[in-house]
Amino acid sequence: MLRFLLTRVTLIIPTFIGMTLLAFFLIRIVPGDPIETMAGERGIDAARHAALLKEYGLDRPVIVQYGIYIGRVLHGDLGKSMITQEPVLREFFALFPATIELAVSAIIFALVIGIPAGMIAAVRRNSIFDHGVMGASLTGYSMPIFWWGLLLILLFSVQLGWTPVSGRIDVKYYPEPVTGFLTIDALLSDDSGAFRSAISHLILPMIVLGTQPLAIIARMTRSAMLEVLGEDYIRTARAKGLSSVRVVAVHAFRNALIPVITVIGLQVGVLFTGAILTETIFSWPGVGKWLIEAINRRDYPVLQGGLLMLGVVVMFVNLLVDVTYGIINPRIRKST
């Protein structure tokens, strides 16, 4: 087990180095002089230009610049935002809980609906319910989620007036930040109004972000269940006289879960991609919206740092899924 863990962990090192190279060189591709780009339309005098070049280390050879960059990254220094002058890492961690709250609730939403829907569809194969689930799942998978978000706003916020259009919580509430998850903080603050407000702000973004994972999870659960339901041990369990609920929910489901777990792990990248769009639509103050704003302001350090940080998070989640997988299934552990 320890060897398995070590190989997995060493495998992510080249990926991490590659990611820093990508983040480092992508910014160098920016056409034109970075200092002049930073200065914008106003222009800049030669002395200040040279000073800034020196300050950012841009007068050194590229390989040295990369070395300096790596050294800083390893010390947790991702540079400063060119707009706010705040350290990029601090801004990232200030906004990341909002994105996590959104992503976690979206994946819970997708699981709570997707797994039962996929299971029932598999048990009632070729029924109207099955066709409905498969059709809905294909539609969800093909959905441009930025449009889906606008449609939901149109229906629930504009027509029905049930939910707010944007933000995380009503401005009049300010629950004490404990976990950074506003729904939990609001619950801890014992103010039911704050909790209701946080939930009503969360619900539409959660549905929007959860739609694609929901579609994929429902589809995956259905096909995994179909495969398992054809196995001999299921027939044995039925022959023993177990209730069909018990056979499906315990015997079949447990084994169908393995491919589903893999799929959930693979959704992390999809979730971050979706979070960028969802946060933009709902003005959700998370990392995705922050990055889009950084692009509009040409704030390259934020872009570079954000790309690297999100890449690292996805990398670690993938590692976690790999390791979990190795724990569940010894064959995978032995094969490496």
Binding site: L138, W147, F272, L291, I295, L307
Partner: protein, 300 residues
């Protein structure tokens, strides 16, 4: 007499041509056929946009800002699907928008498939350090959230339709490289390749004439599914203001323009997204059908 029956039996026993066999499997899947029909409709709509569209997509009418669709109070049949915020005909813009959207989808897939096949072939044939370098790079691209990488590439190269296409092509590239490499590795161990090699076939000949045609099926399926991914990603970039620039009528860009009118003009928001959804759905159905028809493991 006897020889005649023998010939008749032979013709009967002859297997159907590959194309006919493929169509047999494909047409049994109603969803796939529906997808194909919609794809053909959307393609012809885009091709004949100048004939079909009642107006120019950039023609503005100062007396008809945000006019609702014909069936709603205040609408008129002059603009069946209404007008946008500066009085352009929604229907015409949607029809012309199909051109750009499909062009992006197909160009992205063409670009990534060509580069992907080349890299995959090289990785699969030469193995060793070349393979490790290529596959590691692809892993890194796959690790980063796809749209995020696309956004960063466009942010650096500058917004615009060409850069958006390039960005999406880079993001989807790993799928083609991985598929080609895996197919090449499994094919090169087969007897026919050994035979060709023994006959003195050059490496290039082996790559392109012997192995590549036998890797075609998974690539065709991936290409069809890839068009829908490309359309979605490119539309998302357009929506974020990083893709096609106004006044170009691209469905994602149209949605970006429409965002601020979500509170008072549902039609400018609803129709472009609906077109994206229908087109992407059709390509997904088509891709699923192709996969089922081309994958020998799934054949009955």
């Amino acid at each position: 007499m006897t020889s005649e029956t023998a010939t008749a039996q032979v013709t009967l026993a002859a297997p159907p041509s590959p194309l006919r066999e493929f169509w047999g499997y494909f047409s049994a899947n109603h969803g796939a056929v529906a997808g194909l029909v919609v794809v053909i409709i959307v393609l012809s709509m885009a091709a004949f946009a100048n004939v079909l569209a009642p107006y120019s997509p950039t023609l503005t009418n100062n007396s008809a800002f945000l006019q609702p669709p014909a069936w709603q109070a205040g609408g008129s049949w002059a603009y069946p699907l209404g007008t946008d915020a500066i009085g352009r005909d929604m229907l015409s813009r949607l029809i012309y928008g199909g051109r750009l959207t499909l062009l992006i989808g197909i160009a992205v897939v063409a670009l990534s498939i060509v580069v992907g096949i080349a890299l995959g072939l090289v990785a699969g044939f030469f193995r060793g350090i070349t393979e490790i370098a290529i596959m590691r790079l692809m892993d890194i691209i796959l690790t980063l959230p796809s749209l995020l990488l696309g956004i960063v590439i466009v942010a650096i190269l500058g917004p615009g339709i060409m850069n958006a296409m390039l960005a999406v092509a880079v993001v989807v590239l790993p799928h083609y490289v991985r598929l080609t490499r895996a197919a090449v590795i499994s094919e090169t161990s087969k007897d026919y390749v050994t035979a060709a090699r023994a006959n003195g076939a050059t490496r290039l000949r082996l790559m392109f004439n012997e192995v590549l045609p036998n890797c075609a099926a998974p690539l065709i399926v991936q290409a069809s599914l890839g068009v829908s991914v490309a359309i979605l990603d490119a539309a998302a970039l357009g929506f974020l203001g990083l893709g096609a620039q106004p006044p170009a009528s691209e469905w994602g860009t149209m949605l970006a323009d429409a965002r601020e009118f979500v509170l008072r003009a549902w039609w400018v928001v609803t129709f472009p997204g609906l077109m994206i959804l229908i087109t992407v759905l059709a390509f997904n159905l088509l891709g699923d059908g192709l996969r089922d028809a081309l994958d020998p493991k799934l054949k009955r």
